[in-house]
Symmetry: C2
Subunit: 306 residues, 2 copies
């Protein structure tokens, strides 16, 4: 539950005073009251568990990534499963931390051979044929996207579409994971990954592949020291700051499988959650905004204890 | 120049390959080519210099805040000057770091007496009578704000306004500084400050006071360990993680005054910068977004060497 609380506890005040007032309807309270059947289990083959080297105090640092499912998954997601099954990331590192942009990890030598079959797919950042999904789940409180005329949540993910809705694409939000690459038309393989640690940039959408999001341990990637090199890469002088990656595994390969659920984005509780997010009106916030950016609505995710 | 580079160097690639391609028009190149007269000096009384305790490696950590000027400054900004002149923050600390939300600093005991005259002002988060300023500087590439129907840059700052434009207000973006407070209608004094370290939340606007932005050393606040307590506050167990604040001074009080300039937001170069940000089309980005969120356009700021 720690991750969920971190994501959705947004009031700006002191714990002392927070206790004093009665609790009106908040995004938190809506999520807490969601019915059990509104939560959807995430399949273990969509969960990637990354163990970083322990921190300076010897505490373990586990990061859990939810991979994006069909119809939004693309060849990169299958590459990522292949790389995890081959234990390819074991012994690699976090090599880049650029403030207000991304934390990026992979093979710093750029020479480690990839498992057979892992190749950069042809460009296909957008998905077609999802008309019916897009029509089914409107989100009237979402403000228009900078680029697209239409944003909404589909099957648990924030998605943008052109006004004609012929093509849709998953978008970059805080904590979302994408595929690093070289210059276009290279699309990357999925071996080099990054996550957004600041204001999401709409110009990344349709130019880079969104393959998942971090649902636990984001703070282990967002609070790393920034690199002093160009684009936030650690330099040779900074090399000691590269965080070693001990292992990356699909949850389905682990003995003790972590279990997570997300709040069904077509549920009544999710619609209410978006509405309350767009119209905060409680003891702390008294001027409702009247709208909310799609990326300001983090999809609630919770760990399920065995 | 380090801060500027960090803010605007956004291509997602490796340094090695970045050298190879010719450089087409990018936000970076537009800023680099701006004419000297398009840069505006920031007055020393608008610069606040905060010295945090050195980091684990003994390196100094300096944070420079630009205070918001008239007509958007409000009584909080004058309070902040009074607090700095009284050296009130010396010996206080960073007490809260909530992932994807805020880093907050001030007096952890909440009992330190305030200098005379420093009181929470009556609520006035919005400013009226700025019609002409709002009309003068349109920003056609900015996408509509989640809440307001109109966002633009005025006198170097991102501002939102209602559709009738009778009222305007400065908004929260990454690295922007606001005033912590208790429950409404308390508005805070300015003694407790925070900065945005993730996706800016539009529901903060008009509910909390924007008083400035960090123009150097943001990484010293964004990369701090997250607090384990409610809302990211450090708990008693976490107490050793609170970063001590050695001093906070107005630059006008310092012997060695830092000097900064920002790119005039009514200049041709700034308009071009916004346009290029909204329509990235270069060797790396080949699908222009066609729009940009006001908070994705960081106002270029540069240090001037003496």
């Amino acid at each position: 539950m720690r991750t969920l609380l971190t994501l959705i506890a947004l009031a700006l005040t002191f714990p002392a005073t927070a206790q004093e007032a009665a609790a009106p309807v908040t995004p938190n309270s809506v999520v807490a009251e969601a019915a059990p059947e509104e939560w959807i289990a995430i399949p273990p083959e969509d969960l990637l568990v990354m163990e970083l080297a322990p921190d300076a105090e010897g505490e373990p640092r586990r990061v859990v990534i939810q991979l994006i499912p069909a119809p939004f998954s693309q060849p990169w997601v299958e590459n990522i499963r292949t790389l995890a099954a081959a234990h390819w990331w074991d012994g690699t590192s976090v090599n880049r931390v650029q403030d207000n942009y991304v934390t990026q990890w992979g093979d710093v030598t750029e020479e480690k051979p990839l498992p057979e079959g892992v190749v950069a797919p042809e460009v296909s950042y957008t998905i077609s044929g999802v008309h019916r999904m897009l029509d089914a789940a409107g989100s009237p409180n979402l403000s228009p996207d900078a680029a697209a005329e239409h944003t909404q949540f589909v099957a648990g993910w924030p998605v943008a579409a052109e006004s004609m809705r012929l093509h849709a694409w998953p978008i970059h939000c805080y904590g979302y994971v994408g595929v690093g690459r070289g210059y276009a038309p290279d699309t990357g393989t999925g071996a080099e990954l990054y996550t957004i640690i600041g204001q999401p940039q709409r110009h990344m959408d349709r130019n880079l592949a969104v393959v998942g999001r971090i649902i636990e341990g984001m703070e282990h990637l967002s609070s790393l020291p920034r690199g002093s090199g160009e684009l936030g890469f650690y330099t040779e002088e900074d090399a000691h700051l590269r965080t070693p990656i001990l292992s990356v595994r699909l949850a389905s390969e682990l003995d003790a499988q972590p279990t997570f659920e997300y709040l069904d984005t077509s549920s009544e509780s999710f619609a209410r959650y978006v509405h309350v997010r767009a119209n905060r009106d409680d003891a702390f916030y008294t001027v409702p905004a009247g709208g909310v950016d799609v990326c300001s609505v983090q999809v609630p995710v919770r760990a399920v204890s065995e």
